[in-house]
Each structure stands twice: as structure tokens, then as C-alpha cells.
């Protein structure tokens, strides 16, 4: 079968059928970059007090997610910042505190750490410590995360776990173009600060039909992509494609997996996962970030606590290794399809 057809079929299998706020919308083939660009356009059109800023966003950004926005909406609404992440986020918090929609871009998630203090100590606590007098809910921080095959230590990290430990913000990770558009718009309109991680590996690889209209997907709602009876598999972002392949191969081996995309990591949809685990009795969580202290640990502990009597096997985690993200060793580090499949079989055999 020609490679294009094969990819399209894989795309449809992974991204599935969605229900959107308008079901009769026209569809357009978009990749992840265009979907995000589309979402940003809609946001900038809908609210005249919305702004997109970050390093190099003016010409379109290093991944082209912000192409054409400066031309269309003006340089006073889509503008570059100097090279200062702490400054970018702090500035965004202030802008949002005055009732604006501040969409900040951190060029790579690996660079987000200078802004960590601002996110944790300022953004997450603003509403709380001011007794609801102030808030920075209009802030959305977009940042590309995850492995690309050759990114090395500082262009491949998945730092989502650090932010999941912070009450007061939301962490959202889409798995493909249609989810990205809906979730990004939802994050932008959500009255809480959101950190939105975009799987950079899928920027051009993931292509599908995306509704052209303005729609949102609900936050804090996990999505069951394939139903199954033997094992619940949970993941997010780029890892979903790997998990989907592993589940397909599992099905061939006679294992029926229920695949769930968490989508929002905090606050996460405990109900959907619990309902699934109560049905299947087994859970496997998989993410690219290192296993120790990764967000899979939170899911595993929560489910073990709430579904203990329903579990037939220990909760399984297939994640990155406990090392800095390596350069030449990336293939060893990554939670590949084969590692996931092994763990699926081991869980079922327990």
C-alpha cells in the first residue's frame, strides 16, 4: 500500500472520530502546525485584547506555528520578546492580570526552567493569595516538548511532571491536530493559567481533517480512543501513536486494550480512568519523561488507592529511563512500542 495511504489510515485510527461543538463544520487537511496556527488566529480574531508573544514568533516562529499572525493582526499584538524566559512569563502574568489574553511561547520546553519561578510562585498562586481580587487566568504558555530523534539533552525534554505538582495551573497535552486546536482554544479561554505542551515530533508528521470553525474540546476530560476489556492503557501527546501501535499488536496477540488519552494532566480525569480500570482490572501508563517521579507515578498511586480491589495485576509504567535525555542513546532511552507490548503481555500474564 502506498505510504501516503498507510499514513492516512494510521492517522484516522489514531485520531478517531470526535464530537465537536458543531458537527456540520467544513473540514480541512491540516498538520499540527497549521491546526495550532488556526487556533491562534481564531483567538486573536475573537478577542481584540489577546496577544501572542515569544522568541521569534513575529516571522512565524522556529516551527512556523505563528506564521502570518503578525501580518494579519499587527506587530502590537503579535511580537517578539528578547531572549529571557523568566521575563516572558512574568510579563505574560502581568498582562493577564489586567484582563488580557496573554499567549506566551517558550521556544522549547527545555528552556522553560528560568520561568519556573514565575509559573509556580506567581501564576499559580495569584488568585489564591489575593483572595480572588486578582488572577492571571488569561495566561496560556505554549511550548514544544518531546523527543524528535536527534534533539539531545536540550531539545527533547518532557518536563510536564514538574508542572503537575503545582495547584493553581492546568497542564494540557494534545495528541494530534484536531485535539490541539480544540484544546488550545479551550486553554486560552479557560479562566486559569494553562501550560500547553505541544508534541514537536508531530508538528509535521500528524496530518488529518480538522474542522475549520471555532470549537473547543473540554479540559479535564480524558478520551477513550479504543475500548477494550483486558487492560487500560493511558498516555498523552506523541506517545499516543506508539501506544496505539502497541495496542494493535496486542490485539493480534489476543489482548483487548482500552486506550485512553488523558489530554489534561492536571486536573486529570480520575473518573474516566477509574471506570476503565474497574472494567479491565489492569492499568499501564506510558510517557517519554523519566519514570521516577513522572506523572505516571501519580496516576498509578491514585488508581492503586481507589481501585485496589479491582486490580488483577500491579500498575505498570513504561517510561523513559532515569537518565538525562541522551544524545546518541535516544533509541535505548525511549519507551518504544516493543517495550510497551512487553509490558502489556506481562500485565495480562500476571
Amino acid at each position: 500500500m502506498p505510504i501516503v495511504n498507510r499514513l492516512c489510515r494510521l492517522g484516522r485510527q489514531i485520531y478517531g472520530r470526535r464530537t465537536f461543538s458543531t458537527q456540520t463544520a467544513a473540514m480541512k487537511r491540516m498538520n499540527l502546525v497549521s491546526a495550532i496556527n488556526n487556533a491562534l488566529q481564531i483567538a486573536l480574531e475573537s478577542n481584540p485584547r489577546s496577544y501572542v508573544f515569544g522568541e521569534d514568533v513575529s516571522f512565524g516562529g522556529v516551527f512556523r506555528c505563528t506564521t502570518g499572525l503578525a501580518d494579519k493582526f499587527g506587530k502590537h499584538r503579535v511580537f517578539n520578546t528578547p531572549l529571557c524566559e523568566q521575563g516572558i512569563v512574568g510579563f505574560g502574568i502581568g498582562l493577564a492580570a489586567m484582563g488580557n489574553i496573554a499567549i506566551a511561547e517558550i521556544q522549547f520546553a527545555d528552556y522553560i526552567y528560568p520561568a519556573f519561578d514565575q509559573i509556580v510562585n506567581e501564576a499559580a498562586k495569584f488568585r489564591y493569595r489575593s483572595g480572588n481580587q486578582f488572577n492571571c487566568g488569561g495566561l496560556t504558555i505554549r511550548t514544544p516538548y518531546g523527543a524528535v530523534g536527534h534533539g539531545g539533552h536540550y531539545h527533547s525534554q518532557s518536563p510536564e511532571a514538574f508542572f503537575c505538582h503545582v495547584p493553581g495551573i492546568k497542564v494540557v497535552i494534545p495528541r494530534g491536530p484536531s485535539q490541539a486546536k480544540g484544546l488550545l482554544l479551550a486553554s486560552i479561554w479557560d479562566p486559569n493559567p494553562v501550560v500547553f505542551f505541544e508534541p514537536k515530533w508531530l508538528y509535521r508528521q500528524a496530518v488529518e481533517n480538522v474542522p475549520e470553525d471555532d470549537y473547543i474540546l473540554p479540559l479535564s476530560q480524558a478520551e477513550v480512543i479504543c475500548t477494550g476489556t483486558d487492560l487500560t492503557v493511558v498516555g498523552w501527546g506523541a506517545q499516543m501513536a506508539i501506544l496505539h501501535q502497541a495496542c494493535s499488536e496486542g490485539r493480534q496477540a489476543g489482548i483487548s486494550c482500552e486506550l485512553i488519552d488523558l489530554q489534561t494532566l492536571i486536573p486529570w480525569d480520575k473518573e474516566t480512568i477509574e471506570a476503565s480500570v474497574k472494567k479491565t482490572g489492569r492499568l499501564l501508563v506510558s510517557h517519554e519523561a523519566p519514570i521516577t517521579g513522572g506523572f505516571g507515578a501519580e496516576i498509578a498511586a491514585s488508581i492503586a488507592e481507589r481501585c485496589f480491589l479491582h486490580l488483577e495485576a500491579p500498575v505498570s509504567r513504561v517510561c523513559g529511563l532515569d537518565t538525562p535525555f541522551p544524545l546518541v542513546f535516544e533509541p535505548y532511552y525511549m519507551p518504544t512500542k516493543n517495550k510497551v507490548l512487553e509490558a502489556i503481555k506481562a500485565s495480562v500474564r500476571f
Binding site: 516571522f59 531572549l83 528552556y111 537518565t323 544524545l327 542513546f329 506481562a346
Partner: protein, 399 residues
């Protein structure tokens, strides 16, 4: 927008126009004595005026010798060849990941090495291939590391952005811009504490100059009179953003405010040597100083950047014609009759062969052992377990 572009162009080419009026001392040399050994000194005028901020600039003349000039020529030619070879290796996918090339900026690291010793420390960002070579690195180590092989300078685990040479005071090689500068201040503190007569040179670019941590650490260095020299390698573009679009004050040597600064023509090796010697003395006796090197890179930001979407090809070729550091040294050598054009050509050929041999050798070396994935996460022998992907079957005791 137009006035600002022409200001930038003027700034780039002014030093070149001035250099046409360079007035050398009139001394003729015969070719019978080998230029490589001739240490007798003579002075050369520095064409572009130093600009001082809260400090009296050094003299506009510098002492040099035939031997030194020949060394400059050879070392810079080697660096230039190395970067061009790296470009080709990247395009043939033997080097993967990120590769930031330094060609055009060679005068900065060569001029620095001429004024420094191995007692001094250098710490820089990711554009570090030539800085590493200047600090005593070898070509095979460079190419092996770039291609991720085990006999690279960082055992194949670092790649282009992470070259280190501890024994020669080269502290790398850093991916996060600006983060290396506070580290440099810490190194300077250690030097002062241990009463080592050395200075730390912390290098960063014009893009990184807007990072908060640079100002935080500058305050510490000034407060405690640390022997730290901040070197802003201003190649005028932070990735694709010109300096005037990212900085309110693109005069980076003035940004220290209470810390003195000096602006140097970074394409003139001898000017760099003079300025660095001056800065070292200042740092040892009075405290930190900022050097702004007015330099230029011919390649784009990295190998994924063509380098021509934010600047014109005329600008790039103009700088190459007017201000190229290697050509400058070549002209000086020929003018002072230290060597003939043919001699210099043969040096370039020699260097080209060196580079080709090193590349061939590196291509043959092996990648690191898979067990090296786990090594050096913690100190050796720590005994900590690192969990493999599923935490049950593969646990590794870290070597």
C-alpha cells in the same frame, strides 16, 4: 526600519574601512630565516579604536612577532577548515542533532588564547568547536564527538554543544544560553579563593545578553571583586533577530553600568589579543570587566538556518571580503614579508589534509557502548539503581 538597517550595516563595515589605513612598522624580512621560529617582536597598530566605558582603553598598538602571526594564520585556517568540514558532515547526515558553526569568529578565540594561559578558564555557550580547539583540543576528538563516537572529547555523549577540556581550563560547551555565565563567576571565585593567578572568561552572545542571570552574576562578581571577564561575542544576530530588535541598548559593553567595559573589533586578532591581555590585568587587580567583541558569523545560527532570511547575501559576502580575520592576518604577513603567498597556500593545504585525516579517523571509530547510557548520571560507584523502562525487569545499578 530602513534607518536602523543602514546603521547596522555601517557598524559592520566601519572597521573594514578603517583597516585600509592600517599603518604597519616598516621592517622587511628575508625568507631565509624560518618565519615560524622568528620571535623578534615588532608593533602593529590596531585600526579600529577601542571604546571604553568607565575605563581608559588600552593602547592602540600591540606587540607581536612573525612566529605569532604564522601561528595565528595556521590555527585560524585549521579552525575554518574544521567548520567547513563539519558543515559537509552535517549535510551528509554523519553529524546529527545540532551544529552551530563558528567560522568568521575565529579571531576571538585565537586572540584570547594569545593573551591567556591554561591557568585561565574559559566557559562559553554552544558555538564551541573552535574555542575547544584553541584550548588544546585536537581535530580527531572534535570530529568523533560531533559524530557521537566514543573517542570524542566527551565520550560521544555530549555532541556539538558540549565540548570540555578540564586540564586546559575549558569548562564547555553549554546548551542553555546565558546559563554558563553564573558558572563562570563561580569559577572566578574559586580562582580568587585558591589564589591562582588566573582569570575566568565567561563568553555569551548578543542574544543571551538579555538573560537576567547575566546581570545577577555580574553584580556578584563586582561586589566581591572577582577575576571574571564577561565577553559578549556580538555577531549581531541572536538566531534570526538582529541586535537592534532585541535590545534597547545594543552597546553590550556599556550594559554593566558600574562594571567597566571595552568594545573591541572582534575580527582583528591582534586587537582581541590586546584587549584580552588588558582585561585579564584589570580583572586580577580591580575586578570584573565586560568585553564586547564586534564579530560576525558566516553561517546561519545552526545548520538548520540558512542564515539568509534575516540578512542579505551582500552583507555576508561584504564582511567576508572586508573584515575576514584570516585574510587580515594573511595581508599583514605578506605586507611584512614574513612569508610568501605560496608559503601560506601550502600551510592551508597542510591544514586541509590534517582535517581530512581527522575526519577519516573519526568516521572509523566506534559509537559509545550501550552501557554508557547509564554512566556518569551520578558519581561512579554510587550504587544507585536506575530503573529501566518498566521498573520491574530492568533495573540497573549505576556504574
Amino acid at each position: 526600519m530602513a534607518p536602523q538597517i543602514s546603521t547596522l550595516r555601517r557598524a559592520l563595515f566601519m572597521p573594514a574601512i578603517a583597516s585600509r589605513f592600517m599603518a604597519p612598522s616598516a621592517l622587511s624580512r628575508s625568507f631565509s630565516r624560518s618565519a615560524d621560529e622568528d620571535c623578534s617582536t615588532f608593533t602593529v597598530d590596531i585600526a579600529v579604536q577601542f571604546k571604553g566605558h568607565n575605563v581608559e582603553p588600552p593602547a592602540q598598538v600591540v606587540e607581536t612577532s612573525a612566529k605569532e602571526l604564522m601561528k595565528f594564520f595556521k590555527d585560524m585556517s585549521r579552525m575554518r577548515r574544521m567548520e567547513i568540514a563539519s558543515d559537509q558532515l552535517y549535510k551528509s547526515k554523519l553529524i546529527r542533532g545540532f551544529c552551530h558553526l563558528y567560522d568568521g569568529q575565529e579571531a576571538v578565540c585565537i586572540g584570547m588564547e594569545a593573551a591567556l594561559t591554561k591557568e585561565d578558564n574559559i566557559i562559553t555557550g554552544y558555538r564551541d568547536h573552535c574555542t575547544y580547539l584553541g584550548r588544546g583540543g585536537t581535530l580527531p576528538e572534535v570530529f568523533s564527538e560531533l559524530m557521537g563516537r566514543r573517542n570524542g572529547c566527551t565520550l560521544g555523549k555530549g555532541g556539538s554543544m558540549h565540548f570540555y577540556k578540564k586540564e586546559n581550563g575549558f569548562y564547555g560547551g553549554h546548551g542553555i544560553v546565558g546559563a554558563q555565565v553564573p558558572l563562570g563567576v563561580g569559577l572566578a571565585f574559586a580562582q580568587k579563593y585558591e589564589k591562582v593567578k588566573g582569570v575566568t572568561f565567561a563568553l555569551y552572545g548578543d542574544g543571551a545578553a538579555n538573560q537576567g542571570q547575566i546581570f545577577e552574576s555580574l553584580n556578584m562578581a563586582a561586589l566581591w571583586d572577582l577575576p571574571a571577564v564577561y565577553v559578549c561575542e556580538n555577531n549581531h544576530y541572536g538566531m534570526g533577530t538582529a541586535e537592534w530588535r532585541s535590545a534597547k541598548c545594543p552597546e553590550y559593553y556599556k550594559r554593566g553600568d558600574y562594571v567597566p567595559g571595552l568594545k573591541v573589533d572582534g575580527m582583528d586578532t591582534l586587537a582581541v589579543k590586546q584587549a584580552v591581555g588588558f582585561a585579564k590585568e584589570h580583572a586580577l587587580s580591580k575586578g570584573p570587566i565586560i568585553l564586547e567583541m564586534d564579530t560576525y558569523r558566516y553561517h546561519g545560527h545552526s545548520m538548520s538556518d540558512p542564515g539568509s532570511t534575516y540578512r542579505t547575501r551582500e552583507e555576508i559576502s561584504g564582511v567576508r571580503q572586508e573584515r575576514d580575520p584570516i585574510e587580515r592576518i594573511r595581508k599583514l604577513i605578506l605586507l611584512k614579508e614574513i612569508a610568501s603567498a605560496a608559503d601560506l597556500k601550502s600551510i592551508e593545504k597542510e591544514v586541509k589534509n590534517e582535517v581530512e585525516d581527522a575526519v577519516a579517523k573519526a568516521k572509523e571509530s566506534a559509537p559509545p557502548d550501550p552501557s554508557d547510557l547509564y554512566s556518569n548520571a551520578y558519581v561512579k560507584g554510587y550504587g544507585t539503581q536506575a530503573f529501566g523502562c518498566d521498573r520491574k525487569h530492568s533495573t540497573v545499578v549505576l556504574p
